[in-house]
């Protein structure tokens, strides 16, 4: 049983990272607009995050150092500061959207305007961080997030022609109604969503919070091999359902409430309840992940005591940062910014900053000072290098594509 529970760090990281508010909408929207022609981007992203999350989990278990420690140690204080500023800003955008997402999930159940529920959502997020033990937190929200599997149930109940579905996914083409630029833009959005940096910030810091050691390397591997592919499978299920139900009716997705429609129509009331719980858990989990990550990366850059594994008064600056970002995120969310737009921008901007985070991980996963005998093997380094090239290309292409396509319009 303990073995089983030990995978929830990966499950929560992945659910918060893959199916938070922006991804829920992005997956549903791409399914409706591009059918299954972008499924490959999710698969490419999943492999990349598995490879790099395994490395940073391994480094964390063997050296007790989390990702932003490595970033500063390898890039030096200036470059690391640039990365810190970019990551912190992107993180704040995501947190804003997630707090709004929690409020929207509550409002779909309670029929109250979501703006009124934002303060409540923010207080709940802070209380969980302030009082709930780390492992309880990841189990509760990881487990609740699993109710999103109802998307997979809905696809199965819909009874599609499986061979056509797989064939469509395996032979992608640019739909005639879309330009190759928007196609590339959405591919980057899906790839960026799979590899958002806050996932590795949270995952590696979580490994330190749980005091992983050399004995936990297996747990690390199981975590990344179950958690992230599960997150990817959920993304694909959402995409497929939207392709099956919404695309034939020419419905475009721009609201979180529209994501729930296909499930409600296929599985019914119980399905709708499961989706609402799942969306609540996924957005809440992502809010926890991003607000904690804000504290983690600043604390690790400056060498402060950080984390929930020490008493709050022993990590005072860390908790102050977390408190401030939650307040700022909630206030920003209450200005009626569109949370879906905010995450879409944050995902794409994150794609531009990716190499600065992933490069140091790769270097230190080969440093015997950090990992002793558990250095990367040749195959691992080869795959990781290929991904580093992809990350650099993506980061160069992101901003121009954003301008050319007017952010995918």
């Amino acid at each position: 049983m303990k073995r089983l529970l030990a995978v929830f760090l990966g499950v929560l990281t992945a659910i918060g990272g893959f199916v938070d508010i922006g991804d829920l909408v992005a997956n549903a929207a791409t399914g409706a607009r591009f059918d299954m022609n972008l499924a490959w981007a999710v698969v490419v992203g999943v492999v990349g995050i598995v490879v790099y999350a395994e490395m940073c989990g391994r480094v964390a278990a063997l050296s007790g150092r989390a990702v932003f420690d490595l970033v500063r140690e390898r890039l030096g204080p200036r470059m690391a500061m640039a990365n810190l500023a970019a990551s912190f800003f992107i993180n704040l955008l995501t947190l804003t959207a997630e707090i709004a997402g929690v409020a929207i999930a509550l409002s779909l159940a309670a029929s109250v305007n979501y703006l009124l529920l934002i303060p409540l959502a923010a207080v709940l997020v802070w209380l969980v961080i302030w009082r709930m033990p780390f492992e309880t937190m990841e189990r509760v929200f990881g487990l609740l997030g699993l109710s999103l599997l109802v998307f997979a149930v809905a696809v199965w109940r819909f009874g599609p022609d499986w061979s056509t579905l797989f064939h469509d996914s395996a032979t992608p083409t640019v739909p005639t109604t879309e330009s190759p630029w928007t196609y590339a833009y959405y591919a980057i959005a899906l790839f960026g969503a799979a590899m958002t940096p806050y996932e590795v910030f949270f995952f590696s810091s979580g490994a330190v919070e749980e005091r992983w050691t050399e004995k936990d390397l297996r747990i690390n591997r199981i975590n990344v091999l179950i958690g992230f592919p599960l997150g990817g499978a959920l993304s694909l299920a959402i995409m497929a359902l939207s392709h099956l139900v919404l695309a034939p009716r020419h419905i475009d997705v721009g609201l979180l409430s529209q994501v729930t429609l296909p499930v409600a129509s296929v599985v019914g009331r119980l399905g709708l309840a499961a989706v609402l719980i799942g969306i609540f858990a996924a957005t809440f989990g992502a809010a926890l992940e991003t607000s904690l990550s804000a504290g983690y990366i600043i604390g690790q850059y400056f060498g402060w005591p950080w984390g929930k594994y020490v008493r709050a008064r022993q990590a005072a600056r860390f908790h102050l940062v977390v408190l401030i970002v939650i307040v700022v995120g909630a206030l920003f969310g209450m200005t009626r910014v569109d949370p879906v737009k905010v995450t879409e921008y944050s995902i794409v901007l994150a794609a531009a900053a990716l190499p600065l985070t992933y490069f140091p991980i790769l270097v230190l996963a080969n440093d015997r000072d950090y990992v002793g005998e558990h250095c990367n093997g040749r195959a691992m380094n080869f795959v990781a290098m290929v991904y580093l090239v992809i990350l650099v290309l993506v980061s160069l292409a992101t901003i121009p594509l954003m301008i050319i396509t007017r952010a995918g319009a």
Partner: protein, 133 residues
């Protein structure tokens, strides 16, 4: 480093920007800079101290005046006016991904703001002494 230690440390790679930890295993800043002293007799440069604290980081990033001012400010807060951002190598217990020190975090410049936030903000929130496990 001298050959007598039996191990060469590459300051830029294995010292700069590493995490410091005090004698109670409390994280207490990073190696923001290293003090080098020129020995006139032997004609060599010796690394004589680890430098850590807001002023030292600002200086290394090219903000000389702000850095000097911060270093002087933290020195003025100590009882005898010594510079708390200067950590001599004799208190270093161990080098590695983490550098262990034989001092208390409370005596270091990098910990001054931590103390302030703890005493003026976090200790006023109920539950601050509650271990999260």
């Amino acid at each position: 480093m001298s050959e007598a230690t039996g191990r060469t440390l590459w300051a830029a790679l294995q010292l700069l920007d590493r995490q410091l930890r005090d004698r109670h295993d409390i994280l207490c800043g990073n190696v923001d800079d290293v003090e080098l002293t020129y020995d006139d007799d032997e004609k060599v440069l010796y690394a004589t101290a680890i430098l850590s604290g807001p002023g030292r980081l600002a200086r290394r990033m090219g903000r000389r005046r702000v850095g000097d001012w911060l270093v002087a400010f933290f020195a003025s807060t100590t009882v005898d006016g010594h510079d708390p951002s200067r950590i001599p190598f004799r208190v270093v217990r161990n080098f590695g991904p983490v550098i262990d020190l034989a001092v208390d975090a409370d005596d270091l410049a990098s910990f001054a703001t931590e103390r302030w936030v703890r005493d003026h903000v976090i200790s006023h929130i109920p539950g601050n002494d509650h271990a999260a496990e």
